[in-house]
Symmetry: C2
Subunit: 161 residues, 2 copies
């Protein structure tokens, strides 16, 4: 059973290599959740995770964000943001506005329809997450959350280096 459960984590057989075993298990769990989310987003809302993430950023910034800001926050290159924004604009969920003083810059905002649609998706999405993480008690969730904060700090230092 657990000794041959057919996924990426089963790469290792010994109990050395603590960090590697941890990483494979972490990756395995995260991938499973992510795959579920991608699949449900596609089936229930005909959308994708990158598109959802872009909308989520805009939802937090009612005044809109410049393309380069979206690029930074989503950690993808500018050309990609252009493409994803094109799709969302075609769906009527976002709009582009030229910046008043800097005419090179473009501000992307949610349309009213985009805001409504995102709220609907976000609520459903949160329900999925609650369901998928029901394997942990509230105390355990807090525990992992706090541990991840430490890891995140460490990783951020790696990024800068």
């Amino acid at each position: 059973m657990a000794s041959d459960d057919l996924d990426l984590e089963t790469r290792l057989s010994d109990d050395d290599h603590q960090a590697l075993r941890l990483w494979l298990r972490l990756l395995s769990c995260t991938t499973r959740v992510e795959d579920q989310i991608r699949q449900r987003l596609r089936q229930d809302f005909a959308t994708t995770l990158p598109r959802f993430d872009l909308l989520a950023q805009l939802e937090r910034h009612p005044d809109g964000l410049a393309m380069r800001e979206l690029s930074k926050r989503l950690m993808v290159t500018g050309g990609n943001v252009t493409g994803i924004t094109d799709q969302l604009e075609a769906e009527g969920l976002v709009l582009r506005e030229t910046h008043p003083s800097d005419r090179r810059s473009i501000t992307v905002k949610l349309t009213p329809q985009g805001r409504r649609q995102f709220k609907r998706m976000a609520a459903t999405h949160e329900g999925w997450i609650v369901e998928l993480f029901a394997g942990w008690s509230p105390a355990q969730k807090t525990q992992v959350y706090d541990l991840l904060a430490q890891l995140k700090t460490h990783l951020a230092q790696k990024d800068n280096a």
Copy 2:
């Protein structure tokens, strides 16, 4: 700083939504590590994570694996395994053998060169992981590892349902 650190986790502003906040932080950390690994695999070994994962599966199974087994373990469809195997075969790292009794089935194995190359990559890869997870003490690693075991069980039940 931490209140505006420009990544996906910053989607939420309030401190409700415990499960969602946990998930976003988990996804953020995992993605950062994964991006590092992908980048280093490309730069140092001119390869990709799916290719590395396929080799890793074969390394654990010296007698080789059927295409359908690889498909299950890597959690991708058969056509994809064909494509990745084609690439690895072209590089001389794996070979296809026809099954003696069932001539529909094909067994994929590491070549001696593939085994040597994978061992080299795996050792380097483990070093990266140790480095990236140095933000956690051994005790903390064990703690998260055990917590993930619980989550994994829960997710497996979701899969079957």
